[in-house]
Structures are given as C-alpha cells and as structure tokens.
Amino acid sequence: MSALHRFLRRPEAVAGALILAALFAMAVSAGLLFPGDPQSIAGPALLPPFQDWSLPLGTDRLGRDVLTELFHGARTSLAVGLAAAAAALAVGAVIGTLAGFTGGLTDEVLMRITDAFQTVPSFLLALAFVSVVGPSLGVVVVAIALGTWTGPARVARAEVLSIRERDYVANARVIGMHPLAIAFREVLPNALPPVLALSSVIVAAAILTEAALSFLGLADPNRVTWGGMIAEGRTVLRTAPFLSIVPGIALVLTVLGVYLAGEGIVETTAVRRGLS
C-alpha cells in the first residue's frame, strides 16, 4: 500500500489536506475573484454578515469587504508561514549539521548561541526585531525565523551525531573529501527526515506568530492580515464581535489544517519506514 493510500485512509489527515487545499485556492484566487485594492471601501460601514449577498460576510468599521480581506489575508498568512518555516528549517539544519559534525569548540559555541535564542522569548525577539528594522513582509519572515530555527538545529545536531560515525562517512574521509563537503553533501541529506518532520509544527507556529505580530500592529501596512483584521474588529468588539471572530476562525482552521495534514504525512511515512 502506498503512503498516499495510507494517508487517504486517515480521516483527520484528509480533513487537514482539504482545509489546506481550500486555503491555497483562496490565496491563489484572491487576485482574480477580488481584484483591486482589498483595503478599498466597498459599502456601508459595519454591515453585519449574511445581509447583503454582494457583501456576504459584511463590512468592517471603514466599510471594507470582510470576505475580500479574508481572501487576501490568506495570502499573507500562507506566504509568511511557509517562508518563515523554510528559512528556519534551512538555517537550523545548517547550524545543527555544523555543530554536530565539527564538534569541539565550534559545537560548544553554536549550541550556547542556540541556548541563548531559546532563552529569549521568541515572540519578544520578533517584536524587537520588527520594531527596530521596520515592518515589511520580509522583516516579519526573518523575525519569525529568528525564534524558530533552534528546534530544527537541535534535531539536526542529534541526528548528525549518530550519522557521522557511520562507515560511508569514514570512507568519504579516506578518499579525501573536504570535511565541509562531507558534512553538507553526505551527512546533511541523511539527517533531514526528522528535521522535516518538524515542518508542520513550525509552519503552524509561524502563522500564529505572524497573526500575533499583526494583531499588535507590526505588519506590512500595505497588506491585509488576519491578525490586523482581528485588531481592527477589536475596537468595535461590543457592537460587532463578528469582525474579530470571523478572521479568528479562519486562523484556527488554517493552523488545524497544517497540524492534521502534517501529522498525517509524518505518521504515514513513519509506518513505511517501520515496514521496510
């Protein structure tokens, strides 16, 4: 039975994959379905949902269409979540491999730096980084990656420590390969699976951190974010709570989709490894 088959037999994993597919569809179609500036005024202010079918989810305090904003917000969430996670995994894998493969003083220094990054609350670090450098999409991505690369680094290091004693690594040394070439061409690719297994947790954490940053107003001002929408809605929480609740539900579903699909992938591939 193929891994895909096993994946499809897990209802939670399929639900997660469907949520993610819907999210991708939203992000891709946002520009087609809702062209133009998503932050432009579309109707009367504070229209409740399900009243006017041209504005199905209603409008916010400034008369912007909530559904349009939701679609464009999906873009930001997904883009930041994936980019930050990719950066964190790449940096973590490289630093973990270097630390584990070289050992000695380099290892000690790199691991103390890793400790330091884990000691500082990652959200505070992201907050400080964005506020010092200035909010833009790229800066938010770097800020989130700064707080999340430590997990992959530790996992990669542990894996490399066990791989570096294997015969093929000794063989590579004997034929005179450069140690760095051994580390990155021979060892790192083999250490990757457990690091990649962290992806779903990291993507989910990145999406939540992005939302929290934009909730506090630290987001690219030219982009719609779900966190920003929640913050907008907060000012009229008593009269129009749906403005905060709707984008929040989108966030919960997104993160849940990432977890469920990720867990499904990890477990189905782990079974395959166990069988072989």
Binding site: R112, A116, V120, P121, L124, L127, A128, R238, P241
Partner: protein, 328 residues
C-alpha cells in the same frame, strides 16, 4: 548528590555564557535601532547641535563600539538598564513595578495548563486508543490551533460583554480602596479571563506529552510486573504509568517558560493587564528600544532562573539523577 551538584555547576557556567550572548545580542539590536538615546532625549526636551555633541560625549556615545559594549556590560553589572525616555524613569524601576503582575499571570496560567493538561492526559492515556482518548487528543489539537489573543477576545465577548460575569480587563478595580482579602478576591476575578486565555493555549502541550509518555510507559516491564502482582488498574495507572510519564513534563515546564512570557505580551495587551508584556507593547508603540531590550534581558534572566530551578527540582524528583551518591 555530588553528581547532581556537578551537573548544576555545569548548567550555571553554561547559563552565564548564554546570558553574555543574549546581552551582546540586545546590544547589537540597540545599535541597529535608528537614532540613539541622545536623539530620543532631544526630541522630548529640545536642544541644538552643540547640546547634542555635548550629550553624546557625556554619555559615551562618541566612543568605539567595543568601548560602548564594555560600558553597557559595566552598567548591567550594576543592574543599571538605562533610562526610559517614555517614562522618564530608570528602566529597572519601570520593569520591577510591572514584573509582579506578569509573574502572577504566568504562575497561575502555568498551574492551570500543567494541572488540567496532565490530568486530561492521564484521563486519555489510561485507556490508549479508546473513544475518549481520541476525543481528548483531537480536542487538544484544536486547542493547539487557537491563537491566544483571539481566545482572549472571544472570552471577553462571552463572559464580560454578553454575560457580564467578569471584568473586561485590568488587574484590579481602580480607586476602590479595597484591602486584604477583598483586594485579593478582586485581583483574582480580574485574572480569571487572562489566565484562562494564556493557560488554555499551553494546556494542549502538556496533555499531549502526558498522553504520549503514558503510551510509552504502558509498554514497560514494570507495568507488566505490577499487573502480575494483581494491582488494581487505577493503582497501576496512577502510581506507575502516570508517575513515570510526569517527569518529562517537568522539564517542559522550564522550556515553556520562555514561550509563556512571549505569549503574555498579547494576552496582557488584550486584557490591559499592566505587566511586562503590555510594557513591551507600549515600548514598541513609543519606539522606546532601550526599554524593550531591557524587558528582553529581564525575561532571559527569568527564564534562566526558572530552568535552573527545574534542574534542581529534577534532582529531587528523579532518583536516577543523583544515583551515584551511594556508589561514590
């Protein structure tokens, strides 16, 4: 005990290095921030170019990077975090004033997430694979996915706006001259919602760890031995399976403290709790970078102390850590 002490000394030395790296990191961020302390001072008080030169010289800002780093370290050694421009007071005093509220919030939220999380984990893990196990695990995953600040807003809408059971924010009723037990009760009612919001998002973590640990423990020989001795299922679950699954959670308690400090930033902002997190948000809004970095430093020190405390607690909880005592 000697081995435990060696371990602790090793940790302590490591912590000092870690703290040094954090300090250098915050210094670099401080340097990268646009404008320096003199700019901030001049904006609030006014002054000409000559005044700026004089101040830069007096505050040592015209010296080389390394000298400034040394000055920064020297000041920190004297517990001097500098002056906050927004509050016109020493940063240390501002932080110390806000710290107790954050600690109260953190300790209560940790107790909630650890207590309820491990209890639910034991409940689910007592019968692995059962319907209740699946229900609790999927529920915890859903909880994992909820952003804390949004959960806070939803709680406010339900319990403060609609039902009017609990206050909407703040740490206590202002100008109420309550004292003693009345005041404690007042603070407690104000804390119910923020503690729930902060505690519930971390609850899932302990629950899932407990459950996974129990699944692992069920397979161990000592469980089989306990069964063979004819112990009741309840006793096996509580005294053998859960007990062994609990230890890793204690380690997690230390590791999670940094995350919880970060999480309290948004929760304190949502509920207007005058703590360290809200102070961080105020510092960002006012572009008071030295204050923000001071908060980061204090948080890092706090996290280091919590983790050391966890290490010490571990020596007492896990007999294997100090096991060489008898042999040595």
């Amino acid at each position: 005990m000697t081995r435990a002490l060696t371990l602790l000394r090793h940790r302590l030395v490591g912590s000092i290095f870690v703290l040094l790296i954090v300090i250098i990191g915050t210094f670099l961020l401080l340097e990268a921030a646009p404008g320096d302390a003199v700019d901030a001072y001049i904006v609030s008080t006014g002054g000409d170019a000559g005044m700026i030169e004089l101040l830069r010289h007096r505050w040592g800002l015209d010296q080389s990077e390394l000298t400034r780093l040394a000055n920064y370290l020297w000041a920190l050694l004297h517990l001097d975090l500098g002056q906050s421009v927004t509050f016109s007071r020493p940063i240390r005093d501002v932080i110390l004033e806000r710290l107790p509220n954050t600690l109260l919030l953190m300790v209560s939220a940790t107790a909630l997430s650890f207590g309820l999380g491990s209890a639910l984990g034991i409940y689910a893990g007592a019968r692995p694979g059962s319907a209740r196990d699946r229900f609790v695990s999927i529920g915890s995953l859903a909880l994992y996915a909820v952003p804390g600040f949004w959960l806070g807003l939803v709680l406010i809408v339900i319990f403060a706006v609609d039902l009017r059971w609990l206050p909407i924010g703040g740490i206590e009723t202002l100008a109420s001259d309550k004292a003693g037990l009345d005041r404690a009760a007042d603070i407690a009612t104000h804390l119910v919602l923020p503690v729930s919001a902060l505690g519930f998002i971390y609850l899932a973590l302990y629950l899932r760890m407990m459950r996974a640990g129990m699944a692992e423990a069920w397979r161990q020989d000592f469980v089989l031995a306990a069964r063979a001795r004819g112990l009741s299922r309840r006793r096996i679950v509580l005294a053998h399976v859960a007990r062994n699954a609990l230890l890793p959670l204690v380690t997690m308690l230390g590791l999670q403290s940094a995350q919880m400090l970060g999480g309290s930033v948004v929760i304190e902002s949502v509920f207007s709790v005058p703590g360290l997190g809200r102070l961080a948000q105020e510092a960002v809004a006012a572009r008071d970078t030295p204050l923000l970095l001071g908060i980061i430093l204090v948080s890092a020190v706090l996290v280091i102390f919590i983790n050391l405390a966890v290490d010490i607690a571990y020596v007492f909880l896990d007999p294997r850590v100090g096991a060489s005592e008898a042999g040595a």
